[in-house]
């Protein structure tokens, strides 16, 4: 549409249009090239980790900028299995992450349902208190939590690692927001059919929030899998440690055994990279809703 007084692309000369198109094409090429360079820079640490884990032990330090090892070897992985309890660490991470994700998803789903679909006194104060708790730095709590789990006899135990982290403010906030969109009519229909509140929760609410459940589950599992601070305080025995604490114990030495560390790091990173390619939507949705610091 031609509006008087407004320059329109329609009245430009053909050569000018061609010139513009050329310019556009050049810009696309330049910007894309910039992103190619950036992507390579960003891939360096992950590439270096993986390739270092395949280098002969003596070469890891002196590799310079050599992008490929002189000979690829699995020796580092063999030593990782024989010199340190790596399989134990991996199993501990797997079980603790799963346990943490299960417990946290359950209590956040139940709590989020109460905060979104019922009216009761204290609902808003409770909700605000939970949101405010997001501001508490974990480092304020480490001393008193440490003394508390000693008193409760939970040192070196999975429960001691999981329970203190489970009252997750963002988890319950996420479920509450998600459940606000559930229709009240649907719940009332279940009530009219004679279901009590708990039956209704299991048979009507849960099936309708499945996507939120899987998003939260993946995110919490990732969060625990990558967490260092609290497991570092709970576990001192090598056989109970998760991967992060185990790898940290190998790194926190003046002469680091980079052969073991790189092999261990590669194996620890792989699972969630693979999962990410299968479940990208859950990851990005989760991160987007998640916001505040996934780890502290």
């Amino acid at each position: 549409m031609n509006v008087p007084g407004r320059p329109s692309t329609l009245i430009r000369q053909p050569e000018a249009v061609l010139h513009l198109r050329n310019q556009r094409w050049v810009w696309t090429a330049v910007i894309t090239a910039f992103f190619v360079v950036l992507a390579f820079l960003f891939l360096i640490p992950l590439y270096w980790m993986t390739i270092s884990s395949l280098r002969p032990q003596a070469e890891i330090f002196s590799a310079g900028t050599k992008l490929l090892p002189s000979t690829a070897t699995l020796d580092n992985y063999r030593r990782l299995l024989s010199d340190v309890p790596y399989p134990r660490w991996f199993m501990n991470s797997l079980l603790q992450s799963t346990g943490y994700a299960v417990v946290t998803v359950i209590i956040c789903t139940m709590g989020g349902f109460a905060l979104s679909k019922y009216r009761f006194r204290l609902r808003n104060p409770i909700f605000i208190l939970i949101l405010l708790s997001q501001m508490i730095p974990f480092h304020l709590l480490i001393v008193s939590l440490f003394l508390l789990i000693i008193e409760l006899g939970l040192v070196e135990s999975y429960l001691g690692a999981i329970l203190p982290l489970a009252a997750h403010p963002i988890g319950i906030f996420f479920m509450r927001q998600y459940m606000l969109s559930l229709e009240d009519e649907m719940l009332d229909a279940a009530r009219v059919d004679g279901a009590n509140e708990y039956r209704m929760f299991f048979s009507v609410v849960l099936p309708n929030v499945k996507p939120a459940l899987s998003t939260l589950f993946i995110l919490f599992a990732l969060e625990y899998w990558n967490n260092l601070l609290w497991p570092l305080i709970v576990f001192r025995q090598p056989q109970n440690m998760p991967l992060t604490v185990g790898i940290a114990s190998l790194v926190n030495q003046y002469r680091v055994q980079y052969d073991l560390v790189m092999a261990g790091s590669t194996l620890a990173t792989l699972p969630f990279i693979v999962l990410f390619f299968f479940l990208r939507r859950q990851f990005t949705e989760g991160f987007a809703a998640y916001g505040t610091g996934i780890e502290k």
């Binding site: 894309t32 960003f42 139940m110 019922y118 708790s133 008193s144 508390l148 708990y198 990005t284």
Partner: protein
Amino acid sequence: MSQIKAFLTSRKIAPFVFLAPYLILFSVFKVWPVIQAVKISFTRFQGLQNQTWIGLQNYEALLSNPRFSMALRNTTIYTVGTLLVLIPLPLILAVLLNSGRVVKGTVFRIVLFLPALTSLVVVGSVFRLLLGRDGFLNSALGLFGVEPLRWLEVAGLTLPSLILLAVWRWTGINIMYFNAGLVNISKELYEAAAIDGANARQIFWRITLPLLKPTTLFVVIISIIGGFQVFVEPFILFVNGESPGNSALTIAVLIYRTAFLSFQFGPAAAMGVILAIIIFILSLLQFRYFGAFKKEA
């Protein structure tokens, strides 16, 4: 019996039953430890059992503790440094990725996001290798004639090393936040601006940037809160967080070391209280001056 059952399944009681597990864990592992932490910050420990009330002595000692002021300084520099890079860079990258001028944009989004999936322990270990004296970074810079730098051994380079690590780790996530903000800006605004003859630069400054303000604020807030709590990166990059001349000592590292390497619980708790107050004040200032939650609640 049936009366009790009817009571427990009633619509009045059900929400409390649903909330109970969360609230119990919340009280035991959040509320109670906060109260305890404040209490511990006023006490001196001799062994785990023997505690004496010493008033404000732990706080007074902190005022004259050079390590604590060093940690405050470093943490502030680190936070400001990361903000200076991790706000403009991801914002520009997100705008470019949304401009339709990037071929295969999704691939770049994925690559830049991958660091977000890695454990900071792993990231710290890999960067310690990359930044070593004969490491990849020095070798690569050497190709351009740059003399090798002692990234992790010289006081002036330790914080830049930490910031470099942070840029690698968080750029992709921040792109995702900015992208979420960009998608919400109505296409019609851009079309109207194009009809009015606005060029790309004008559109960016007059439309994109002002409308991204809420997103930018959100990213600034979480970056500040996260920055002040930075722990794993310096803890792994330097052995047990012990950096040359304490040049990369952060508040969180100092709290951990005070509590679990020196076993001085009182001073550690006092530092925790101060850290909490700092974060609380910064959050309040932001809510107040930028009204981040005005639309909600």
